[in-house]
Amino acid sequence: MTRRNTRSPRSAGLTGLAGLVATTLVLTACGAGGRDDDGDGDGNGGGASDVGVTEDSVTIGGHFPLTGVAAPGYSEIPTGAKAYFDYVNANGGIHGRKIEYIVKDDGYNPTNTSKVTDELLLQDEIFAMVGGLGTPTHSAVVDQLNAEGVPDLFVSSGSLMWGDDVEARPMTFGWQPDYESEGKIIGQYVAENMPDAKVGLFLQDDDLGEDAEKGVRQFLDEEIVAVERYTSGNTDVGPQIAGLQGAGADLVLSFNTPSYTALAQLVSMKLGYKPKWFVASIGSDPNLVGSLLSQFSEGAIKDGASALEGVMTSEYIPGTDQTDDPWVQLWQKVWDEHGAKGELTNYRIYGMSHAYAFVQALQGVGEDLTREGLVEWLEENGEGLEGPQLAPFRYSADSHMGIAGMRLAEIKGDTTEPLTPVLVTDIGDAEITEDSSGQADDAPPESGIPE
């Protein structure tokens, strides 16, 4: 018997086929794929529309990554929002209407976002989209929502796109401070307080990183010694961190999602790289990152909180550590009464906070609830809204940008220590000033429901 035989043509063909299948898998992994072409609807974007509203209910929806790479942390946001809506419903609803909140999982994949948005619009017939999460994901549906005249409120992402062009996207409102403003605020802080730092940027390779870099570069330029970008989905950030280390950066400003904060910390530990870190608010939740890092061997990282000890970050709503803040007390009460399993987390507070703003708007518009009416009310009254946010919204007829600013803080043990007062700014070359609205000091009404 010969040791090896010649390969039969049939199996050679099979190799080719297997190659084709693998190719398809790679392509899928690249995230190729466009929007569905159908589902344009007939564009009834008029003022008379009150789809999703009945005598005793208003139906709203949101898309969130409940699974996949962006799910840690972010999947908790809708559970917080739902708890607050349940709280409101249990107290009689708003103008006699109960809020029906439908959450769809898009896995942080824009193709899925299109699909679930079609479902929300056509099957569930929602009145408004509230809190839809993610820059790449929400980008895939923002035009559709605007074309069909569906209010698209409080997008859970800091991209500029949700508020800087009201004419192009009249129905869309941002919520959290945009990444450019965040970049400006940290940029100015570093320029003033750490002028000798060699700055490295660690950025997600999309609008998040781009907007942030634009902001940072208004104040820092020569100080920046390296810019490294990672692609969401590729979990090997070794080469990027090696690049920052190689360039000798001793202060890294990183704008990324929480899993990547954990990955970056792990790789830095492996490389013995110990710069000072600033982690943008979206990626810095100490509890979440800590729980991801808590299990590793040789006691390298002891427990949750200490994993991010000394890391600088920013805050624009109060978090779970501030137990004497009246807003946090309200959120704790809501979560105890209506929450799902698990503890109150900062992501759940985030969800409750935008749910609160939505209820505020429903309350303000009054009994005649229309889509146009809601948008108009927000444009007229948005800037003065009370709420957990530390700085006011920027809503007006010319801007739909969300919260105007934040304060910088350093993570110390289980809590944070403020480095600056609340600073407000806007996109472009707007100045950075200390907030004088007193927004950070307000408290919720006794009932916990906006009046």
Partner: protein
């Protein structure tokens, strides 16, 4: 210089994992002539089994052993209960079936183990070694990975080249009819092939999980890169798979570090295309196709 070294070392460690995975693909290819796309989720499932054991308070090595044993069983069971039914039909059926298994296992794991990221411990240090006053991107666990892959490669070469069992496995994969006439119990050989391949796959799963984060999709890119590595090495040769894996790991690491991480998947695809176009037998294929 340090960056160059660290990028290379990171690439080698990652390449070792691709190699381990490619070895599993080679093993199943040589013993059944099927390319098993379900290898990735199978390894993911066994890694989660290890995590359950470790989370219950047992040692890392017990979890490690549990994963390997369950890998062996899972492979054998899938072959007997599922894949056996398409035996003797067109080969494409088996390949498509493994893609179906891919999706089913993935979804089941999400239901059973949850969809969250979880950290997976490592038995050795996850800090890099210190050379002089510098830390290099090679960890105790990285060394363990490289050694484990080389050992497995050695064992596979021994199995296929020097044992009766290996010969029987190859024979039954190659021509079941003739092998059966010669007294080989073809069914058993195929079950064994699946079981062993699944065992090696489980090892790859554990190696990439150690000191990092796992979730049900964490092996998905590995199946692609592992396949590219296996094709690079010719799908037939254990040594080829290891060299292919290391070459791929290094190339992708340099692409990510010096060109841009968004091009990593594209680079893998390009390598796959070039190999299939220029050297479809693989760079290290030991079989030379003879045209008659």
């Amino acid at each position: 210089m340090q960056q160059l070294l660290n990028t290379a070392l990171g690439g080698l460690t990652l390449g070792a994992v691709y190699a381990a995975f490619a070895l599993a693909l080679v093993l199943i290819w040589r013993s059944t002539r099927v390319v098993n796309f379900a290898q990735a989720p199978m390894a993911m499932v066994t890694t989660f089994i290890a995590l359950v054991v470790i989370d219950a308070g047992y040692s890392y090595w017990l979890g490690f052993a549990a994963a390997l044993v369950s890998g062996l069983l899972l492979g054998a069971l899938l072959e007997r209960l599922v894949v056996r039914h398409v035996d003797g039909k067109a080969e494409i059926n088996a390949v498509i079936l493994t893609l179906g298994l891919f999706i089913v296992l993935h979804s089941l794991a999400a239901v059973v183990f949850g969809n969250e990221y979880r950290s997976f411990p490592a038995p050795f240090g996850i800090r890099g070694f210190e050379v002089g006053d510098r830390t290099i991107a090679l960890t105790g666990f990285g060394v363990f990975t490289l050694v484990a892959v080389l050992v497995v490669m050695g064992l596979l070469v021994l199995l296929f080249r020097f044992t009766d069992l290996g010969l029987k496995m190859r024979a039954s994969a190659f021509n079941a009819e003739v092998a059966r006439l010669l007294g080989v119990q073809v069914g058993r050989m195929k079950t064994l092939g699946w079981a062993l391949a699944s065992l090696v796959g489980s090892l790859a799963g554990l190696l990439i999980a150690g000191g990092s984060l796992v979730h049900p999709g964490y092996m998905d890119s590995i199946v692609v890169y592992g396949f590219v590595a296996a094709v690079l090495g010719g799908l037939d040769s254990p040594a080829g798979a290891v060299v292919g894996g290391l070459v791929l790991g290094l190339s992708l690491s340099f692409v990510s570090g010096y060109v841009g991480s968004q091009l990593v998947a594209l680079a893998a695809l390009l390598i796959l295309m070039l190999v299939l176009m220029l050297k479809p037998g693989g760079l290290f294929s030991s079989t030379t196709a003879r045209r008659v």
